[in-house]
Amino acid sequence: MTPTPPIVYVVDDDASVLKSLSRLLRSARLNPVAFASPKEFLDQHDPRQPGCLVLDVAMPGFDGLQLQQALITKGSEIPIIFLTGHGDIPMSVRAMKRGAVDFLTKPVNADDLLAAIRLAIETDRASRQARAQVDEIRRRLASLTMREREVLEHVIAGRLNKQIADALGVVVKTIKVHRGRVMEKMGVTSVAELVHLCEVAGVKPSTP
């Protein structure tokens, strides 16, 4: 899987502003893609593409906040930097609560905008990485058999083979085999590593 370079989406209904922002981003060696309306962006947006979104709040028909909501519904977690004409506090609070990265006032200073974009791209990269890791762990977890999954939940609860064998009503030797398969399938060599992976993936230890 070759990592695609992050794209900075810019959405503003004012053609001049859109053009100038795109230019600024290019001057900072970023990779901007411009859209004149939220709808256009939403229609073609691929959530798998890393990057961030620079979004004007006030636009006719379908405004920035509505786009944010639509993206959440679509399952996209792209970080959003909102641009606003006049510092509208209730609006910025709503946007931030829904996970906006930043809320900047027009006219926006290049350093502020670029810093916010870099932070957003970094956030996106980190969260994508985290999501990728979780996906990998889940993929491995999915490869376990029902019995192996049961054994895993006992292991990460810190139980000894004997205790597990008693709980499952089998001999200790069988548990040892399952345990070996679990470690192998999950790609770990220590229980500590296994516990960490399960924590990341949200797998709960079995309760006695």
Binding site: D14, S16, V17, K19, S20, L21, R23, L24, R26, S27, A28, A58, M59, P60, G61, L83, G85, H86, K106, P107, V108, N109, A110, L113
Partner: protein
């Protein structure tokens, strides 16, 4: 022969004399003249016409003189008796008088009376006096009526702050009524023969006003209520309204003009004040309206400022590179200039609306005026989630009007329409601005999809200070209606049959635009 000739001659003379007498009699009849003679001896003669003039019947035995003495009008009696005494006493050789007389059948009549001493002997004090009498009631009444009407006219003129004048063909005063002094400070004597009407004109306007008047003179035109600025004797500026008509001689040559001037200074000041306070109110309500719009207007300025800043900072970054892309930088600079102009345009429109301007008429394209307003208010509609629909008629003829005031009306109507939809779901908020040509009028209508105007509000919405808004001044619509009326148009409001309200105005097409 000689005798015969003599006789013939005498006959001829007699005949000629009788002829003369007859003619005289006829002439006296026609003129209504009565003769009488009075002598110191007591001899008294009066012809029939005298008896008719004073109304003395044939049966009456009173002498005409006694009868006459009895029936003199009490108010004229003393004067006439004095004259009579004077001529009898030899103080005068002739007297003439007009006086009233109590005619037994016809009441008060006017008589003209001439008396002349024909013979007088200083020693014996004997005399002969011949008198002529004529009734002049009719001409006296005409004269009286004329004098009364002239007097009445003069009084009315003075009360109305007018004076009456006559000028010769060169414009020099040949007459000015006494009331001129109250208006211009000059007495009639100071004007007549000494001043031309244009000498009094306000100096900076003198040549212009003078030329205009002489153009009328040249065409022998009658003019009414033509206004001009004049200085009084003390140098105070007054505004006069002049009406005049030409005086022509029998050959049709212009002798001069005659007319009246009215002092309209007070009226003019009042008009100016009304005009000023109206402009003041229009300005106030415009400022109030722009205050409400300030957020949107800030946005209109913010957009170009944003573009300028981003462009400039991008250019700085490009230039910092080792081999800068100068084509790109050139493009950026071009855009910066364009954006700066865009910001300037917003400010210009704003300043125009905030200006405390006089009403200025110019030929206007209504579509253009509407579009200008929509540019200013676009963001406000956006904030209110209102979808804007426009329907502009092509090739609209021009109208005469004040751009700023019409923009104010439009802003007001559009903002009202926006307010009317505050409780309507976002998806249904629609504002339609339409222009059309109707019967040589340009119609502009603003329609909303709100709740419509309640009947009681519809009645009162044009009353000043009536408002349904918590923060409203209640001046928007009254001021708008006044503005449209000033433009010779009409502003009306009504409910849409299905939903919402329509407020529209009609403006007459510029007469020179034949489109």
């Amino acid at each position: 022969m000689g005798v015969a000739v003599d006789i013939t001659d005498r006959k001829l003379v007699e005949f000629a004399l009788r002829e003369k007498e007859v003619r005289l009699e006829e002439a006296a009849d026609v003129a209504g003249l009565g003769f009488y003679e009075v002598r110191s001896s007591g001899f008294e003669y009066q012809d029939e016409r005298i008896r008719a003039i004073v109304g003395l019947s044939e049966q009456c035995t009173t002498t005409a003189h006694e009868f006459w003495l009895q029936r003199l009008h009490p108010e004229d009696r003393e004067r006439i008796l004095e004259l009579s005494r004077q001529i009898f006493a030899g103080e005068y050789n002739s007297v003439a008088a007009e006086y009233r007389f109590l005619h037994p059948q016809r009441g008060v009549v006017w008589l003209r009376h001439l008396a002349r001493v024909i013979e007088r002997d200083a020693q014996t004090k004997s005399f002969r006096i011949l008198g002529v009498m004529q009734e002049i009631t009719e001409s006296k009444l005409v004269e009286e009526a004329l004098r009364e009407s002239v007097e009445r006219f003069r009084q009315v003129a003075e009360i109305a702050g007018e004076f009456i004048w006559e000028v010769d063909a060169n414009g020099r005063y040949t007459y000015a009524s006494p009331s001129v002094e109250k208006i211009l400070g000059y007495t009639a004597d100071e004007l007549v023969g000494k001043k031309h009407f244009y000498d009094l004109f306000e100096p900076s306007l003198r040549e212009h006003q003078k030329a205009a008047v002489f153009r009328l003179f040249a065409e022998r035109q009658t003019f009414r209520d033509s206004p001009h600025a004049t200085l009084t004797k003390s140098g105070k500026l007054v505004f006069l309204e002049t009406s005049g008509s030409p005086m022509l001689d029998a050959a049709g040559n212009l002798i001069g003009y005659r007319g009246a001037d009215t002092d309209i200074t007070k009226r003019k000041q009042h008009e100016t004040e009304v005009h000023r306070s109206r402009a003041e109110i229009a300005h106030l309500s415009r400022v109030a309206m722009l205050g409400e719009l300030s957020g949107s207007l800030a946005h209109e300025l913010n957009q170009p400022l944003t573009a300028i800043l981003s462009n400039a900072q991008a250019a700085q970054r490009f230039l910092a590179e080792e081999s800068p892309d100068l084509t790109e930088v050139r493009e950026i600079l071009k855009d910066i200039v364009a954006e700066d102009q865009r910001a300037g345009e917003v400010i210009r429109r704003l300043r125009l609306l905030l200006k405390k301007g006089e009403y200025q008429q110019a030929p206007l394209d209504v579509n253009e005026v509407v579009q200008d307003v929509l540019k200013l208010i676009r963001n406000e509609l956006l904030n209110l989630n209102i979808a804007l629909h426009t329907d502009f008629a092509d090739h609209l003829p021009l109208i005469m009007g004040d751009r700023v005031q019409l923009q104010q009306v439009l802003l007001n109507l559009i903002m009202n329409a926006g307010d009317a939809m505050a409780n309507v779901p976002f998806a249904e908020r629609r504002l339609t601005v339409q222009t059309a040509l109707v019967d040589r009028h340009v119609r502009v209508s603003v329609a909303d999809r709100g709740m419509g105007i309640p009947p009681d509000v519809l009645e009162q919405m044009f009353v000043p200070f009536f408002t349904t808004k918590a923060t409203g001044l209640g001046l928007g619509l009254p001021v708008s209606r006044t503005i449209i009326s000033t433009h010779g148009g009409h502003l009306t409001a009504r409910n849409n049959p299905d939903r919402g309200a329509i407020v529209e105005f009609l403006l007459p097409v510029h007469p020179k635009d034949k489109a």
